[in-house]
């Protein structure tokens, strides 16, 4: 069962929720798809790490074979190729690795070469298999890394929690594509509501069952809670805004492994999520 945890902005508590849900489950997989700044591993401190380098294909030109016909450049929808001063220039970071230019070149002057863009680390932290996608600084897109991870999730390890990148762009779509259920994490502010609305729209478009965890809850009115009631979005649980939890988190500790109170809180949340997922599975079967 794959559960994606997402939010419209950074800092709402995606990692807090996904790390603690994974840790409180009997056996689980935690997947960090926030490849630009993965931080789940800082909490899990996984052992027995195996790394796999991830590469993409980019065109490589044989200048003596190229006759400057420009068919490659005309074909490329992303304008990754320019022909200047009788020389083909390739813009690696603009290339989407479709391979079309190589196929279309009548002179067979283009071949593909590997370009390493990051890595996937797989390790273990007690009951949790920890998989972390890491994109090299300066690379344009982490989607190939996310594809590599999500195409190959072990299915015998119970829940898989996917810690998504913030926002609602292509990389988030890739992360939630195969998810069975989506959890939104929302802050109790008007800004939080705006961002919640973004991911709500996205997930609705993907027709995924979903619910909200209200994080940083204070006494008084919660605009995110009002929004959920208005839209009829299931509220899965509430996490208080307090110093104790904040301190555990900023010390890179997993609160469910440190404190019974939070163990109970996230156990309840996991039960609620499990019920929801099963309910969805039954109604959709």
């Amino acid at each position: 069962m794959k559960i994606a945890v997402l939010s419209g902005k950074g800092g709402t508590g995606k990692t807090l929720v996904s790390v603690n849900l994974a840790a409180v489950a009997k056996e689980s997989i935690y997947i960090d798809c926030d490849v630009e700044e993965p931080n789940g591993h800082l909490f899990f401190k996984p052992k027995d790490i195996e790394s796999e380098r991830i590469s993409i294909k980019i065109p490589y030109v044989n200048e003596t074979a190229c006759n400057g016909c420009r068919k490659c450049g005309d074909f490329c929808k992303f304008n990754a190729l320019a022909y200047i001063n009788s020389k083909l220039l390739v813009f690696d970071e603009v290339c989407h690795s479709c391979g079309g230019c190589v196929l279309i070149c009548p002179e067979k002057a283009l071949t593909e070469k590997d370009k390493f863009i990051g890595e996937v680390q797989r390790g273990v932290s007690e009951n949790v298999t920890v998989i972390t996608g890491m994109l090299n600084t300066g690379e344009a897109s982490g989607i190939p890394i996310i594809k590599n991870i999500l195409d190959d999730i072990p299915t015998d390890k119970g829940f898989a929690f996917i810690d998504c990148p913030p926002g609602s762009s292509c990389i988030v779509m890739e992360s939630i594509k195969d998810a069975d259920y989506c959890i939104f994490v929302a802050e109790p502010t008007l800004f939080g509501v705006h961002n919640l609305n973004m991911v709500y729209d996205l997930v609705t478009l993907f027709n995924k069952p979903h619910g909200v965890v209200l994080n940083k809850c204070l006494k008084g009115e919660n605009p995110a809670e009002n929004f959920c009631k208005e839209k009829g979005i299931q509220i899965l649980g509430k996490i208080p805004y307090n110093n104790e939890l904040g301190t555990l988190n900023s010390d890179a500790l997993i609160s469910v492994r440190e404190n019974k109170k939070y163990h109970a809180l996230f156990s309840n949340l996991l039960q609620t999520v499990t019920k929801e997922v099963q309910h969805e599975a039954v109604t959709n079967s």
């Binding site: 450049g73 992303f78 304008n79 320019a82 200047i84 020389k87 813009f91």
Partner: protein
């Protein structure tokens, strides 16, 4: 001397376009014959790499100078692979900039921005 300028419309009375890569038109102007030609810039509708495609257009028209308020790093890489000089426009009037170039009052565009990749298109 043949020069190029991103412009908002096909007229000498229009304004200089604030974007190089996504400009709808280019003015190709000959400072000797005072002849002007307006080109549609198909790069404006690109999914990405608009600056590269716009720069390719400029290079293909064999101009000697580009007058623009801004230029991204990919476009600059294409243009700098040639002898084309990039000047910074002083205001949004086409004629003022042509006059300033003739009087030697335009400075080179020093600031090349990192581009607006992934922000201009989905």
């Amino acid at each position: 001397m043949k020069i190029a300028m991103p412009v908002d419309d096909k007229s000498m009375e229009t304004t200089v376009c604030q974007s190089f890569g996504r400009t709808p038109y280019f003015l190709i102007y000959d400072t000797e014959s005072m002849e002007s030609v307006f080109l549609n810039s198909y790069a404006a509708a690109s999914h990405g790499g608009a600056g590269i495609k716009a720069a390719q257009t400029i290079v293909d028209h064999k101009v000697s100078a580009l007058l623009t308020p801004r230029c991204g790093e990919n476009a600059a890489e294409v243009i700098n692979a040639t002898n084309i000089k990039i000047y910074k426009t002083i205001n949004d009037s086409i004629q003022d900039n042509i006059d300033a170039l003739k009087d030697g009052k335009l400075s080179m565009l020093e600031e090349i921005h990192p581009g607006l990749h992934n922000h201009a298109a989905i």
